[in-house]
């Protein structure tokens, strides 16, 4: 079993942290995992993305051209990664930042108005967690509890007051997807 997740968006949208959270959760579950950012000139301003590979065996490439799942937090990320998702893979889109439909039909797609949901929760910074929740609900890789646990253990102490909010954001993301699918 191996899954590759790319999380992509603007710098400041919490892309790298969301990826690290997945990584911690996988690690705590005893799985193999790698996290790699795109670094370079684009680091400053512009876009940010990271790739997380989770596996139960020694991981080869930490970068992939065809990921199992993508979270696209804005339009450029959707444009860049839509075609790359593996057949049958998962694409989670931040509907709030994207003004078009997804074209592919051979993959699972979750359009989540993550900014709106985050603002409903009272904290814009929760956008990434909403989308992460939506991903976990679609990708059979880690139980959401594992990520919640990772959050508790690896969120810096000074942010612990935000723990409940973070969890709630993930749940909302997951639920939104469930609702959308059942709808």
């Amino acid at each position: 079993m191996q899954k590759e997740i790319i999380i992509a968006g603007f710098g400041g949208q919490g892309v790298l942290f969301a990826g690290q959270l997945l990584t911690y959760a996988a690690m705590d579950q005893g799985l193999q995992v790698t996290w790699i950012p795109s670094y370079g000139p684009e680091m400053r301003g512009g876009t940010a993305n990271c790739t997380v590979v989770i596996s139960d065996d020694e991981i080869g490439s930490p970068m992939v051209s065809r990921p199992s799942a993508v979270i696209a937090m804005n339009l450029p990320s959707l444009d860049k990664y839509e075609d790359k998702v593996k057949d049958g893979g998962v694409l989670v889109v931040n509907q709030s930042m994207v003004d078009r439909e997804v074209r592919r039909s051979d993959i699972k797609v979750a359009m989540v108005p993550a900014n709106t949901i985050a603002e409903e929760l009272g904290d814009k910074r929760m956008t990434n967690m909403v989308l992460l929740g939506a991903l976990l609900a679609n990708l059979d890789i880690l139980p959401v509890e594992a990520v919640e646990k990772a959050l508790k253990e690896h969120l810096p102490e000074r942010h612990h007051k935000l723990l409940t909010l973070n969890k709630e954001a993930m749940q909302r993301g997951g639920k939104y997807v469930a609702a959308a699918i059942s709808a």
Binding site: V33, W35, P62, V64
Partner: protein, 370 residues
């Protein structure tokens, strides 16, 4: 000990600290800067020496000086910075000092870029400095290996009074992976019988790399060559994957080696009997092992993040007795597993003669687009 999630640069730094690193001297350069930044707080916290040098020239000569005293010392840099260390590296080799240098390669030549590359293989393995000398070169492919190799590098360096280079690339420096850290040692300051730390209670000592009299210099060169024979006999490291029953193999080191593993798995899944040979010590190179392996194979694919530098060594070692193909990405681009898979298919389905040069074929296939 429990696993921790660490960035490659930080993992290497902490491994060095735990190995008893006494002093670090370095200069910032992407993509190794986190290593220096981490040590800028970690070393003083432990009461050890951290100093940001005025340049890589400064840094290499500071480790040169510090190593003379018997202290465990390290520097680190990336491609252009490493080039500036070549004179110092040759002096360190000529003075027979134990020094560890971490080189996190980026795209070149020139200023190039800060993305991962492996184009300094020749510079590090075959002597970018002047004169005959042989550093021990270790190429980790994952963070655990980076930690383990760094931790062991100091013992190796001291055992052979040799330079040890940890040769990584930007992606290993920047990625995170869970890994276990080794036991913590105090800062190590030895007083071996060659070190210069003040002559109290003994005769004075001199450490230098001058032998104005050619026969004396030749003696030194022979000493270095003999030591290298010993290192070749004892310190070869490599990893094998799926090679027991293999008809084909990919050869790759560091990051390109680990990426190739994914391609090899995918090819195996399609029923191709292929394995991966990943040299861990690039110097000494696992020559015998690769040669023996090649005798059992129908073909080899060499994958690198350069224009085929290790390729020449593989050709030399395997004596061009079986078909060898090459796949390289350059300039900061990582080869993707799918690309390597396609190359494996080619190797298996359209084998070429042992004649002709794999690099020429690669350039014909890919270069023309550029």
């Amino acid at each position: 000990m429990a696993k921790e999630l660490m960035k490659g640069n930080v993992a290497i730094a902490e491994a060095a600290v735990r190995a008893g690193l006494n002093a670090y001297f370095g200069y910032p350069i992407t993509p190794q800067t986190e290593l220096l930044e981490y040590l800028s707080s970690r070393m003083p916290e432990l009461g050890r020496t951290f100093l940001q040098a005025e340049s890589e020239l400064g840094a290499v000569n500071m480790v040169y000086g510090a190593a003379c005293t018997g202290a465990r010392v390290m520097s680190s840099s990336s491609s252009p910075g490493t080039s500036l260390m070549m004179e110092g590296i040759s002096y360190i080799a000529g003075t027979e000092l134990p020094v560890v240098i971490v080189d996190v390669m980026r795209g070149g030549p020139g200023l190039g870029n800060i993305a991962p590359a492996q184009a300094d293989y020749n510079q590090i393995v075959h002597g970018g400095g002047h004169g005959d000398y042989h550093p021990i070169v270790l190429a980790p492919a994952n963070i655990q290996e980076a930690i383990d190799l760094t931790y062991g590098a100091f013992d190796l360096a001291e055992k052979y009074r040799s330079l040890v280079v940890i040769l990584a690339d930007g992606s290993l420096g920047q990625m995170m992976e869970p890994a276990e850290l080794p036991e913590m040692k105090p800062a190590i300051m030895r007083t071996p019988d060659w070190a210069t730390y003040g002559s109290e209670g003994r005769k004075k000592r001199i450490l230098s790399s001058i032998y104005l009299d050619p026969p004396e210099q030749e003696k030194t060169n022979f000493r270095l060559e003999h030591r290298w024979q010993e290192i070749k006999a004892n310190e070869v490291q490599y990893k094998e994957y799926f090679l027991e029953d293999a008809d084909y193999a990919v050869v790759g080191f560091g990051t390109s080696g680990r990426i190739a593993l994914s391609a090899v798995r995918a090819a195996r899944a399609k029923g191709i009997k292929i394995g991966l040979f990943r040299p861990v010590s690039l110097a000494p190179y696992p020559e015998k092992e690769l040669f023996e392996l090649s005798k059992r194979l129908k073909g080899l694919l060499v994958v690198e993040m350069n224009a085929g530098q290790m390729l020449e060594d593989v050709l030399n070692i395997t004596r061009r007795q079986i078909p060898v193909e090459f796949y390289g990405r350059m300039g900061g681009i990582l080869p993707m597993p799918e690309e390597i898979e396609a190359e494996i298919d080619l190797l298996v389905n359209e084998p070429t003669a042992a004649n002709g040069h794999p690099r020429d074929r690669w350039l014909a296939r890919f270069g023309k687009k550029n």
